[in-house]
Symmetry: C2
Subunit: 333 residues, 2 copies
């Protein structure tokens, strides 16, 4: 149909008005006579016109683009969540008439190409995913780029972030084990380099402390978020603490490994040892038992981040947000 590209000028001509008026109609300027508005709108739908983004960007300085920047190094960890997060982002952005630019890049080294792609004028804002190294992000922020981090940056950082309540979730999980009657509660903690790893361990400690249970360092083992890591950690734990009757595992993948070790050792779950995970990664069945775990609102994380970056573009300074988690009780605790 619209073979040759038609421009605003074409609309102006067929509607018998000036280009300026067409532009005003396009942008909802109220001071155009109703009669002309309809004339213009007719011409638009008749010719099947849609405005040229580049031209608009050139004059307004707004690109309508928001970058979602994902550290390609954290693939393993976030794999199952990408779909949900990106869905959340994409939908929230679309409602505000923004487009999402997807960038998967190594973020641990300072990458000039990333910076160039996000320099002022290239995008209106950016959403970064949890990273080990804040340097690039801080640089960009100093350059005036509105940005939000998903996941928690370093404590001292001035970055705006959205995060799940890792601390609260771990607290809920551990509390659940306590309420269930567990007396000797261990934990398989995650990578302490990551804030999520630290916060989930802190939540565990807090719950113990609240219930007057002393913290015992020997009941903490560290894994690397993988099932194999969970396996190893669980072996360590059960060797040094054969009497444990409950364990909070900092993510579901490690819980998978931990449970296989428990089964192998002949411990019944949850009768002998109760297990709570984190992430709700496996919505359905998992082997014979369904894992009791902490659910994060992953899609909400994306949607919230998008909403916040849009507010920043509008000149506001939104506060960082921590999204609540939810305990899902299933078979293992």
């Amino acid at each position: 149909m619209n073979r040759a590209k038609i421009t605003l000028a074409d609309i102006a001509e067929t509607a018998g008005v000036s280009p300026a008026t067409v532009s005003r109609v396009l942008n909802g300027d109220p001071r155009v006579s109703p009669e002309r508005v309809t004339r213009v709108n007719e011409a638009i739908s008749e010719l099947g016109y849609s405005p040229n983004r580049a031209a608009r960007t050139l004059v307004t300085g707004k690109t309508g683009l928001i970058a979602a920047v994902i550290d390609s190094n954290l693939n393993v960890f976030s794999d199952p969540f990408w779909g949900q997060i990106t869905t959340g982002i994409s939908q929230a952005l679309q409602e505000a008439n923004f487009q999402a630019l997807l960038m998967v890049r190594p973020l641990d080294v300072e990458d000039p190409s990333v910076v160039a792609s996000l320099a002022p004028g290239q995008v209106d804002g950016a959403i970064f995913f949890q990273l080990h190294n804040d340097d690039t992000v801080n640089l960009l922020q100093d350059m005036g780029l509105p940005l939000v981090v998903v996941g928690r940056p370093e404590e001292s950082s001035k970055l705006t972030y959205v995060d799940s309540d890792n601390f609260g979730g771990a607290h809920q999980a551990t509390k659940h084990l306590i309420d269930r009657g567990c007396k000797a509660i261990a934990t398989v903690a995650g990578d302490q380099q990551l804030s999520s790893g630290r916060l989930r361990l802190d939540g565990y400690r807090k719950a113990l402390a609240e219930s007057g249970i002393g913290f015992d360092e020997s009941r903490v083992a560290y894994g690397d978020w993988t099932d194999v890591g969970g396996e190893q950690a669980m072996r360590t734990l059960i060797e040094s603490n054969p009497s444990i009757d409950g364990v909070f595992v900092a993510n579901d993948l490690m819980a998978l490994g931990a449970m296989s070790v428990l089964e192998e050792q002949g411990r019944n779950i949850p009768e002998d040892v109760a297990v709570v995970g984190f992430d709700n990664m496996f919505a359905g069945r998992l082997g014979r038992q369904q894992l009791t775990t902490i659910e994060q609102d992953v899609q909400g994380l994306g949607a919230k981040a998008a909403a916040m970056v849009i507010r920043m573009i509008d000149g506001e300074r939104p506060k960082s947000v921590v999204l609540p988690t939810r305990l899902i009780v299933r078979d293992t605790a």
Copy 2:
């Protein structure tokens, strides 16, 4: 540093050349004297200049953007793959100096906003993910948009696609069961609305036929790709065919359900019944046994699609591609 945005004209001035020359240097035009090239390059890095995309787009008509359009209705199915696919796409595009625009939209109804976002001049090309309804895609293709579909469209379609070898993979899987000595081989097939569902069933039939094993309709049960669906299908199967000693399940999630039913019935895997899945969704352990399955090169799918759409933009007409799959033998068969 670069507070006020600096333009090509600024570079021209500090380098003491004309804007035209700067532009030529930027675009690698060979007919600029080496001496000026260095002068310009110095000015560029000194001022920290990067060209304005919008202005460039406006004059060249190329946006440098390729849309990755994902049907929001197929979340469940593709969830764990998104990360890999998008990584593949993003990296391949970046190497060719394109940016990936992410659009998660319902694609089953014809959505004017999708069409508008992809109209000529908005993006240079698009990659669509497997869909139930080709209408929107065909429309866009007719409008001259270079596009590639990931997953296989309807047989009659003229669309260019990239797909995993569903047929070949299913054939491999079934063949493996036969080679293993299984005599009564059933299958849990997927949704026959989807090409992947049909092709995986066809591959199963082909392998049986090749080995002179008759096809028995009662040995086919249909699931909906979910673990629960796999469970139900397996129950049906085992009821009507108690003697089966091998089963090819059309995806890993259903295999999960199927295996739990087998265990529940007291059948040992793989001694009594061998199981092969499809997707290699669970890289690690899965309950007590690791699933023998067919691996697809998901990231390759994304990379290939990106490469193809770029070739189409360059005016070529690449052929559709089917990527090979690989049998991964583990515990269950």
